[in-house]
């Protein structure tokens, strides 16, 4: 009986269920989205790109906002006066946005002209008000107080009085423009006059600005865009500190955000794309700007930037189709993982802007200081040359860099990036041929012998002990230099102390191993590395000749002569055995084979460069 009741109940349930199954729920087949009809076009013109750090500011000209993760987004959003060629790093003018023109050499006058029809995505034209505000802000010439004293420990400008101006930026180039510029009638062109000649005048303003009418509106409460622009220009021209103070506050902080702001005016753009969505720490979406009239037209309708910090995770996401294009941090592991994907992806190995090098200390009574040899310059130079000669640069590249970048090569210029237009000429003429890539231990030993110094010579090599690659380099250098007659001693410091050691404690080391990062091709960029007493000249190198050449270079406007001077500087450096360059940091990019036209550049905006040439092949 027990089982009968059970069976009956089960049967009842089953029959009921079947009856119910015959009825159906609401009919969803009519949904337009279920058919996916509109989806396919979007899929064909969409691309997802992985990047490691999320955007935090759209004002890349402020000290706070100048970071690569911001520059890449702004590169897609805003047009520029010029871009870089990915391979040669030569600047390419962009007349569709505007032109930069030198109108006079002495005094140096540069005229910026915006092309017709260039406009912000709210319809307001881009004009000189934007550029003049940018100049006022980045020059620091309008600041009435020292920016450093005005900030609290969280970086907020607090003790700024109502009429104190404190733009958070200081570009030495813009600083050289002291007088208010000459603005044309139509507001489309502006001529800046430099207070002295300046070699890198063409890099002073690249065209990235924040919209002046929005800054004016938010700071001064002027609603009408044209009036707001006028108000901004007038405030700058009349040095109206009360208004400038408000402008500075808006300029400094209003364009900083980590998710889509509620006010669209904060993310206006004037270039190929407009910002449509930004989810904190997750992704950022861009759509082609329908009103864009310039030459760098978006080739792909939708661009999504996904924030993935982990390099391996980027590779897996590429494999799984979650992203289409990655530029992860290069390492041997990433290379192996990418190679395992075979023809599922296209891979390109290249270099990035940072280069590894060894610098020697000239003033610490160490082995490279003439003072150690009773002021005998020649002996000290011979010892320096011998040490640099004994560094096995090719071995270092073969063992540590080739696994990440099969095309890696020794770098032989102190100033120019490998691959840049004049690099080959520089290497041929700068005297670096005296130091073969492989090093020359025998020649080094002979030099020491000739100089008559007692061997082995103790050399304390400083480096960041928490960087495994540098630890390996130290081992290779120590090994090779030993046979030349140097006893290389580990003078490394943990990461937390390394910076202080390098910059201030030259009595603790004789040679240092670290990297410098190039962010542009400006000729004055490396000035601080070589000039007597300059901030990046940690080895306390001092040469009157180099200082004089650098002075000339600062004010040399002719590109051909600039190169001549750069070569002359390098000749001195290599002859004086200032130090030696080893390799360029490896970079890697990988993308789905359907994506075409990819060419990443060495310096920012790296993988986003030449986005207007991208296309997606229809399979």
């Amino acid at each position: 009986m027990k089982s009968n009741r059970f069976a009956a109940a089960t049967a009842l349930v089953a029959v009921g269920a079947l009856a119910l199954a015959a009825c159906s729920g609401p009919d969803r087949s009519a949904d337009p989205t279920t058919t996916g009809g509109t989806g396919e076009e979007t899929a064909n013109s969409s691309i997802t790109i992985a990047w490691d750090a999320p955007l935090n500011s759209l004002n890349t000209n402020s000290n706070n906002g100048s970071a690569t993760q911001n520059a890449i987004v702004q590169f897609l959003l805003d047009d520029l006066f010029y871009t870089y060629d990915s391979e040669t790093l030569e600047t390419i003018p962009n007349p569709g946005f505007g032109t930069i023109e030198k109108v006079s050499d002495s005094p140096l006058q540069v005229k910026y002209t915006y092309a017709d029809g260039v406009a912000w995505s709210d319809g307001t034209p881009v004009d000189v008000a934007d550029l003049v505000l940018d100049w006022a802000a980045t020059s620091g010439n309008f600041n009435t107080i020292d920016i450093e004293e005005a900030m609290d420990d969280e970086g907020n400008l607090v003790d700024v009085g109502a009429d104190q101006v404190a733009f958070n930026s200081a570009d030495p180039a813009a600083q050289l423009i002291e007088d208010f510029p000459e603005i044309s009638e139509d507001g489309k062109s502006v001529t800046f006059t430099y207070s002295k000649e300046f070699a890198d005048w063409q890099y002073t303003f690249d065209g990235h600005t924040v919209p002046a009418h929005i800054v004016g509106k938010r700071a001064l409460g002027v609603e009408d865009p044209a009036e707001a622009k006028t108000a901004v220009i007038e405030a700058i021209e009349n040095k109206d500190n009360a208004s400038l103070a408000k402008l500075a506050q808006v300029w400094n902080s209003d364009f900083n955000f980590t998710s889509l702001p509620s006010e669209p005016e904060l993310y206006l753009s004037n270039g190929a794309y407009i910002l449509t969505d930004y989810v904190e720490n997750q992704y950022l979406t861009l759509k082609a700007n329908p009103d864009y009239t310039g030459d760098h037209k978006a080739a792909i309708e939708n661009v999504t930037i996904r924030y993935i910090e982990d390099s391996q995770a980027q590779v897996t996401a590429l494999e799984n189709g979650e992203v289409d294009y990655i530029g992860p941090q290069a390492s041997a592991d990433v290379k192996v993982a990418l190679e395992a994907l075979g023809d599922q992806v296209e891979t390109h190995f290249g270099v990035e802007g940072t280069y590894e090098h060894v610098d020697l200390v000239f003033e610490n009574d160490g082995p490279f200081d003439p003072a150690s040899y009773d002021g005998d310059e020649e002996t000290a130079k011979a010892v320096r040359k011998a040490f640099l000669l004994s560094i096995p640069r090719q071995d270092i590249v073969d063992n540590l860099i080739i696994p990440s970048n099969p095309d890696a090569a020794v770098r032989n210029s102190q100033i120019l990036l490998p691959g840049s237009a004049d690099y080959d000429q520089m290497v041929a003429e700068n005297g670096s041929s005296e130091y073969p890539d492989t090093g020359d231990v025998d020649a080094a030993a002979a030099l020491l012998d000739e100089a008559g110094v007692e061997t082995p010579i103790d050399v304390r090599l400083a480096f960041n002990a928490d960087n495994p690659r540098r630890v390996s380099q130290f081992a290779l250098i120590q090994d090779a230099a030993q046979s030349a007659g140097f006893n290389v001693i580990d003078a490394s410091a943990p990461a937390a102390e390394w910076g202080t050691l390098l910059a201030t404690q030259q009595d603790q080391y004789d040679a240092s191993l670290f990297g410098w990062q190039s962010t542009s091709t400006a000729v004055t960029e490396s000035d601080a590395n070589f000039r007597t007493g300059a901030i990046n000249n940690f080895g306390k190198y001092s040469s009157d000749e180099v200082d004089r050449l650098l002075d000339d270079l600062q004010v040399e406007i002719d590109p051909a002569k600039q190169l001549e001077l750069q070569i002359a500087v390098e000749k001195e450096l290599w002859e004086d055995a200032f130090g030696i360059t080893i390799f360029q940091f490896p970079a890697v990019q990988a993308w789905k084979p359907t994506l075409q036209g990819v060419r990443a550049s060495t310096i920012s905006p790296t993988i986003f460069n030449e986005f207007w040439n991208w296309s997606i092949a229809t399979a």
Partner: protein, 514 residues
């Protein structure tokens, strides 16, 4: 009791204070806010350095900076992450929600599965099943998280997505899976040779049939639980719940369970309309779940009897189970649409992030909730499994040993001696008491998961607490690091107090005295 709690809270506060000081010093030593500037060749490097020193107050002694930080902390202000100039309080809020999502699912699943397997393992002590589980749990326990994550991505996402392109299992694969599952069930259920054989063949056949069914109905790409399956599975839930909760002999209880299933089936079609036409969100879903629980309990009351409370309990659990099946069915009905969406293009299981960009924005209002839920699920799946596998292993061990200890107690022998059924002995006298030590481990374990999901979050790119910590460490931002450390330290202190209180509440032999 009150004195005990206040004393423990006071101690906790003191520990927090001291540890915050030590942590501040240690973090200060381990970060390098100037690192990027040291290698900079920017033309205004000098000014940038001066700015940063001023901004971060680096010329001030670290101890003084600590007290400044502490002052802000007491006013509830965690400060600003200087690199992104973002308020740490905001950052912390969104990070905690993300981690909570990840950790709660993993913790619940790990506890549920870990305890169940651990108990069975204890009941089958020194059998092949026991050794197998012991081996497996030690294996899982010793696996490094990053490696588990990589394996899961390879097989759970990449290979599984490949499989979905043409979802067909070979006959050999079906046979293999069926045999393996048959063996596991055979070992878990134990018994004499004949019973083992029956279990093996039975479980193996059921598995094979299920796989064939999935294959034949193209279940992988258009999964569904139609009313027939809900009836079958619901009946299973009803029987299992009754079995464990009151025993099948309790007819009123069994009746309650089955009427809950019938009620669920009767409401199946109306629910389809409700779920489709009402714009869903998690509040409504939670409300519906509560309604299900209440109506299940109500059915128990209607069946009456002196022990209606037991029936109500059974009814509530069963009704919840059936409601969950209906919800799942509804979610599954959107699977095809999800797969076909251009942002997914038939590769549903994600390896990174917590949502698919632009998915929810591009669908109809009515579908947003359901597709969003699927999307969250496909992103949560792998990190949850990764976390679960590791804590599952430890729960298995804890549950097994505490169950074994309880089973050796005198009162178990007494219970058996007075003729109680084995179910009553195990479930009422054994199982409940074996949970007491677990109750003290769970809070601590959840806190450990909360703060310790760093690697999992990093590898799967989830913007939770762990990633906030790593990112801030990388960016040399001391404020968010301190916020992370303070939150985890606070939770650890609280979890310890809660564990003690739970212990005292559950075990009458323990008394909290100050």
């Amino acid at each position: 009791m009150l004195r005990f709690i206040s004393r423990r809270l006071g101690m906790g506060a003191l520990i927090l204070l001291i540890s915050s000081f030590l942590m501040y010093l240690l973090v200060n030593v381990s970060i390098r806010p100037m690192e990027d500037l040291e290698q900079s060749t920017a033309r205004n490097k000098e000014q940038l350095i001066a700015d940063r020193i001023e901004q971060l107050d680096l010329n001030t002694n670290v101890v003084i900076r600590y007290f400044k930080w502490l002052g802000n902390f007491f006013t509830g202000d965690f400060g600003v992450a200087w690199r992104s100039s973002q308020s740490v309080n905001d950052q912390l809020g969104s990070a905690m929600i993300s981690t909570l999502q990840l950790v709660s699912a993993a913790a619940v699943l790990a506890i549920f599965l870990g305890v169940a397997v651990g108990i069975i393992s204890a009941l089958r002590q020194y059998t092949t099943f026991d050794y197998l589980i012991t081996f497996l749990s030690f294996l899982l326990y010793s696996l490094p998280a990053f490696w588990v994550a990589v394996l899961l991505k390879r097989w759970g996402a990449l290979r599984f997505n490949d499989f979905l392109r043409d979802p067909a299992l070979t006959a050999l694969a079906i046979a293999g899976i069926s045999a393996a599952l048959g063996i596991v069930w055979m070992l878990a259920l134990g018994g004499a040779l004949k019973r083992r054989l029956i279990n093996f063949v039975g479980a193996g056949t059921v598995t094979a049939l299920v796989l064939f069914y999935l294959q034949a109905t193209n279940w992988w790409t258009s999964p569904k639980i139609d009313p027939v399956l809900i009836a079958v599975l619901g009946s299973g839930v009803a029987v299992a719940t009754t079995l464990l909760s009151t025993g099948l002999r309790n007819r009123r209880s069994l009746g309650t369970a089955f009427s809950a299933v019938a009620l669920g089936l009767a409401l199946y079609v109306p629910m389809q309309y409700l779920l489709y036409y009402v714009q869903m969100n998690w509040w409504i879903i939670t409300g519906l779940a509560l309604v299900a629980l209440a109506s299940g309990a109500g059915l128990g009351r209607l069946w009456g009897g002196p022990d209606w409370r037991q029936s109500a309990r059974t009814g509530a659990i069963t009704a919840f189970g059936v409601a969950a099946l209906i919800f799942l069915d509804q979610v599954m009905s959107y699977w095809g649409q999800y797969l076909a969406h251009p942002t997914i293009s038939n590769r549903p299981i994600a390896t990174v992030g917590d949502r698919t960009p632009n998915l929810v924005q591009s669908v109809q209002e009515a579908d947003k909730f359901w597709l969003g839920t699927i999307d969250q699920y496909t992103h949560l799946l792998l990190p949850t499994v990764a976390l679960m596998l590791i804590s599952f292993a430890s729960y298995t061990r804890y549950a097994r040993s505490s169950m074994l200890e309880v089973l050796n107690q005198d009162y178990i022998r007494t219970a058996r001696a007075k003729g109680l059924t084995e179910r009553t002995v195990i479930m009422r006298h054994g199982f409940r008491n074996s949970l007491i030590p677990l109750a003290t481990i769970v809070p601590l374990d959840i806190v450990a998961l909360f703060g310790g999901a760093i690697i999992t979050e990093q590898v799967f790119g989830r913007p939770g607490m762990g990633q906030m910590f790593i990112k801030s460490l990388h960016n040399a931002e001391i404020e968010p690091i301190m916020a992370y450390l303070m939150v985890t330290a606070l939770l650890a202190v609280l979890a310890n107090i809660i564990a003690d209180l739970i212990y005292a509440a559950l075990d009458p032999r323990i008394r909290v005295t100050a």
